[in-house]
Amino acid sequence: MAQEQYIYAVTRVHNNEQTLLTAQDVERLVEAKDAAEVFALLANKGWGSPDLPPGNPEALVAFEMDRTWSFVGELSGDVSLFNVFRLANDYHNLKAAIKLAYTANSSAENEAYFLKHGTIEVATIVAAAAEHNFATLPDAMAAAGKEAYEVLAHTSNGQLCDIVIDRATLLAIDAAGKKSTSKLLQQYATLTVDVANIKAAVRCCAMQKKPEFIERVLAPVGSLNVPALAAAAAQNMAAIYAVLHGTAYQNAIEELKTSLAAFERWCDDELIELIRPQKNNLFTIEPLAAYVLARENEINLVRLVFSAKINGLPAQTLRERLRKTYV
């Protein structure tokens, strides 16, 4: 892509970065006395629309996510450039569709199980799962869907079905990252895959799973030595730390020793640090990708704040769970 192609888009994105939540804005949200005050503060930052049902956090965050994708789609002219972000939604939808098909559930409330902004229409995935014919889906997804459905049909074990699809998700993200010409999207794919593998290894270790099971769970892609990680997960946490030592995740070892939640927070903060240089990038598509990730980050953050306020969590507890902001 010629760099001049994105000058307009990048300028608009940088302009819109001013509307992103700053660390001070987040602090105000944390200090808000209740969810109503959070709504008011967000409205001052331009969140929401008069057409939204009042007092509904999910409707608000869904609206903001729609707005983000609509904005980026308008600017890029081709949202498929960001497929590496959207594939996880497709596979989530595939998982939901298979489980609904297996339970022969066709309730009208099923829409709530599916995510928007994937690369494939939800209806296509639902139809494929309902008819047990996955040929209408891309090859990799069709193979994963077929295998997951058969596993579920033969074992009635939802976890095994999840393992097949989660692994396929990581392989798809890795493939999309490798296909992308953007270094940022490649790094995002690697980070996503590595983090998922580390989390899976830690969980398997905690549940004392057998090596054969762990090897089925971990995706053999990313920057880590996956066979070594799988072998370590079959031993103990110290072995996992040893595998991570000397890798890009060395600094996360201390977080892993604290908790998986602390590790997840470290990963989210790493992602923000990864995209932060894009604030000064004037020409390529990467600031658009960074904007999508920054918006997803702040939408997740707002979701967390709403959840804390609705459940009456103290501000300090909430603060410990917050992630860094992009601006």
Binding site: E4, I7, Y8, A9, V10, T11, R12, H14, N15, N16, E17, Q18, L282, F283
Partner: protein
């Protein structure tokens, strides 16, 4: 072969008009895209954005100026095509500073202008400072046009 002198001289004149004009057209176009991006959300910044967009346009003007002076000195409009190869090459060399530096500086100035536009879109009060950055690039185009101006006029007086 006897016309090689005038051919070199006209080539120099053409390059002086062509390359900086090309660079300026590209630079103003790039800056225009960024300007449109700023105005989409901040229409009140129009005048400031316009100034920044126009900064890369000057190289094209400098190139045009040198080309016109060279045209006059060569005497091409008078139909006199007698010129030594040495003099023709001297005209070509005299035109090269603005041709090359004009092209390159226009592109770089456009990129700096775009960065400055993005700065004022976030901090409109920094317009004065933001304008200084692309103006710094202008200095090299001015040096090049001065060298070409002196050289083109100098070649005219040479008995080559």
């Amino acid at each position: 072969m006897s016309n090689l002198g005038i051919i070199f001289a006209v080539l120099g004149m053409a390059l002086a008009a062509l390359l900086p004009g090309w660079g300026s057209a590209k630079g103003v176009g790039m800056a225009g895209q960024a300007g449109a991006g700023v105005l989409a959300d901040n229409p009140s910044l129009f005048s400031k954005v316009l100034v920044l967009q126009l900064l890369p346009a000057t190289q094209g003007i400098y190139g045009f100026l040198i080309a016109v002076i060279a045209m006059g000195n060569i005497g091409i409009s008078g139909g006199d095509f007698n010129m030594s190869i040495a003099k023709g090459l001297a005209y070509l060399g005299a035109c090269l500073p603005i041709a090359v530096v004009g092209f390159i500086s226009a592109i770089h100035q456009a990129k700096t202008s775009i960065a400055s536009m993005q700065l004022i879109s976030k901090r409109p009060d920094q317009f004065g400072k933001s304008m200084l950055f692309p103006v710094m690039v202008e200095m090299y185009a001015i040096l090049a046009v001065l060298v070409s101006f002196i050289a083109v006029n100098g070649v005219a007086g040479m008995a080559l």
